[in-house]
Amino acid sequence: MATMVQAIRMALHVGEERLGVTDVFGEDVGPPLGGVFTATQGLKTAWNTPLDERGIVGTAIGLALAGQRPVAEIQFCDYAFNTIDLLKLAGNTYWCSDGQWNLPMVVMTPVGSGIHGSIYHSHSFDSTATRIPGWKIVMPSTPRDAYGLLLSAIRDPNPVMYLAPKALLRTKGTPGEEIPGEPDEKTLSRMIDAPLGDRSKWVPEWPKTEDFFIRIGEAKTVRAGRDVTCVTWGRMVAICASAANDLAAEGVEVEVIDLRSLWPYDWERLAESIRRTNRVLFVNEDTEVTNFGEHLLRRTVEELFYELYAPPKLLAGANVPGIGLADSLERASVPQKAGIVEAMRELARHRP
């Protein structure tokens, strides 16, 4: 099974070969490194930029204005904050020009905690991204979704923010979740992972993976359940699914939905599930104040109030300025499995 970072690499290759990608660029994105997480190794259009995030986003906008199809990387989302007015500009160019200039561009950036990344390699960007209209925002939680969402992001004629949970980049898919056309693990690694040491003469051998698109705006039910709906995305998906599996031993069946796209998002699927379970928990690791989960919760209250048997709940990151490096600090800053289990249990047991 491919890892998420291999999935991203293969999707970018398909983008170059078949979807018109002209540039994959950012800091350390080109040879020799091919990205600090190896997401861009071996790609023919990958190139290195100055250490200048504003220049990266601005150049992506310019390339898109000139009819190119760029994929730009911000090395860590923590370094995207100084580009916010350029992200705003990318999001408003089509609208401000009354439909003259659309920008087919992707900005991808690793997000979230889970690798002991301290204050500037652990932050989330999902809630911030949803404050920038004009962007589509996706966040995969599996290699297969990472592949399918990236192909859709590349094909989209609008700016798409591709948030990659950095703690999941090395995780593999589960059987039945293969990327169509991917070879076995060892073969894939031999084909597309750059060798250690001198790689100046190395060229990848790309597997013939298929054009497999996951529609932006479509959530996925990861685990069915009748008692509680849990809506989550990114790194929290597997943790919530694991929490739900634990609770099954107590006879509580939690339905876990991976939102996958934050804008546009799949309200129909969420609403259908909440109407069935009458209880809902939102989980994500961004800081909790003006968190995107709050929007979903507000919407739930406004539209589904009389369907609810328990107060809807949000579990999110502590509203503190950073994720501390010590394991104890990181664990206290972002939702953990035990807390998720507890929140699910409370919701299930709550009697109106």
Binding site: L63, K136, P157
Partner: protein, 363 residues
């Protein structure tokens, strides 16, 4: 490397031969006059309540008209991309824009071809001419321009990117980004980096904030050729720009041009938009010269002025009657439709909020 044009003292024009053909000079005078009168009509409209805000380029006409005439106008990589600023009416007029469209943008009517009533006056956007949307942030264009220039570098040909901002905006890091990205070794970009230096940032004098002698000097350490032009001298502007643009077109390398210009009606309507008599007026200077050299009489120029003024006045009255965009139009052009799914544009814009939930309770 640097070419400096001596700034002549005010009114020092007698006895000097024309540096450009008289026909070109007359053409530039006509365009400068039209641009000035357009700005004055826009100011009037705003003051009379036919617009919410004015910002524009009176005082930059000599330089901007010359620039507009030197542009290779068209759509796509074979033509020039323009990342202009909100004082660029002269450039647009020289390229052949209809001044009535600028009035439409001032009045925020649906027929405003630049922004559909969404943006301030002077915020041009013309896809067919590679004029990318002008933004209110005064520096961001310096980060976008390397993108179009990079595409042109790879494409080859003679198309270039022209990016223009002011001296105040050059303090932002985006100006440094432009210098760095334009001069990466082996990947120098065909980009004309323009700073129109009017020596002001709203109320703040540049001299109180900038220690550099010329803004364009900051390009020198990057190996970028530079030039300082008297932007109030239309002939110097035309000849200087011609040389710089030809260099960029043929060498496929960056060139930084700084033009010393005036700001004749202040920063914007927020500072009153009243005529500033203390700064040199490029149009006045040119007209004095044309009259002195016998190319046009004062009477002829007065007639021109009266005719254009009347035309714009009548046009502004017609524009006043044009329809504003409907409120529902806010949902248009948030997203371009995904190929094969035209309905996706509105669906993705309104998204999961659906038809009923809008900020004001729905329409």
């Amino acid at each position: 490397m640097s070419t400096s044009f001596t700034q002549p003292a005010k009114g020092e024009t007698s006895g000097v031969d024309f540096k450009v053909a008289p026909e070109l000079l007359l053409k530039m005078h006509d365009l400068m006059l039209r641009s000035r009168l357009l700005e004055e009509r826009l100011i009037r409209m705003q003051k009379q309540g036919d617009g919410y805000f004015w910002i524009g380029g009176p005082g930059e006409e000599a330089f901007n008209v010359a620039l507009g005439l030197l542009v290779d106008k068209g759509e796509g990589l074979d033509h020039d991309y323009l990342h202009l600023h909100y004082r660029s009416s002269g450039t647009l007029m020289a390229m052949g824009a209809d001044p009535v469209d600028a009035l439409r943008q001032m009045k925020s009517v649906a027929s405003d071809p630049y922004s559909g009533g969404r943006n301030f006056a002077g915020h041009y956007s013309v896809k067919a001419w590679n004029v990318v949307p002008v933004t209110s942030p005064i520096e961001v264009q310096y980060t976008m321009a390397p993108g179009t220039a990079l595409a042109q570098k790879r494409h080859g040909g003679r198309g270039i990117t022209i990016v223009q901002g002011g001296d105040a905006g050059s303090a932002e890091g985006d100006f440094a980004s432009c210098l760095i990205w334009s001069s990466r070794p082996g990947m120098e970009l065909p980009i004309l980096i323009v700073v129109t230096n009017n020596a002001w940032g709203i109320s703040t004098a540049a001299g109180t904030q900038h220690g550099e002698k010329n803004v364009s000097d900051r390009a020198k350490p990057f190996g970028i050729r530079t030039m300082v032009i008297d932007g109030n001298d239309v002939e110097a502007s035309y000849l200087g720009l011609k040389e710089a643009i030809e260099y960029v077109r043929t060498e496929r390398k960056p060139f930084a041009v700084e033009a010393r210009v005036s700001r004749l009606y202040g920063h914007s309507s927020s500072s009153g938009a009243n005529f500033v008599a203390e700064e040199p007026d490029c149009l006045h200077r040119l007209e004095a010269r044309l009259e002195q050299k016998g190319l046009l009489t004062r009477h002829q120029m007065d007639e021109m002025r009266a005719r254009i003024t009347q035309h714009l006045l009548e046009a502004s009255k017609r524009v006043r009657e044009e329809a504003p965009p409907p409120g529902e139009a806010i949902w248009n052009h948030v997203f371009a439709p995904v190929p094969g799914d035209e309905a996706s544009a509105i669906r993705d814009a309104r998204g999961p909020l659906g038809a009923a939930a809008t900020a004001n309770g729905g329409h």
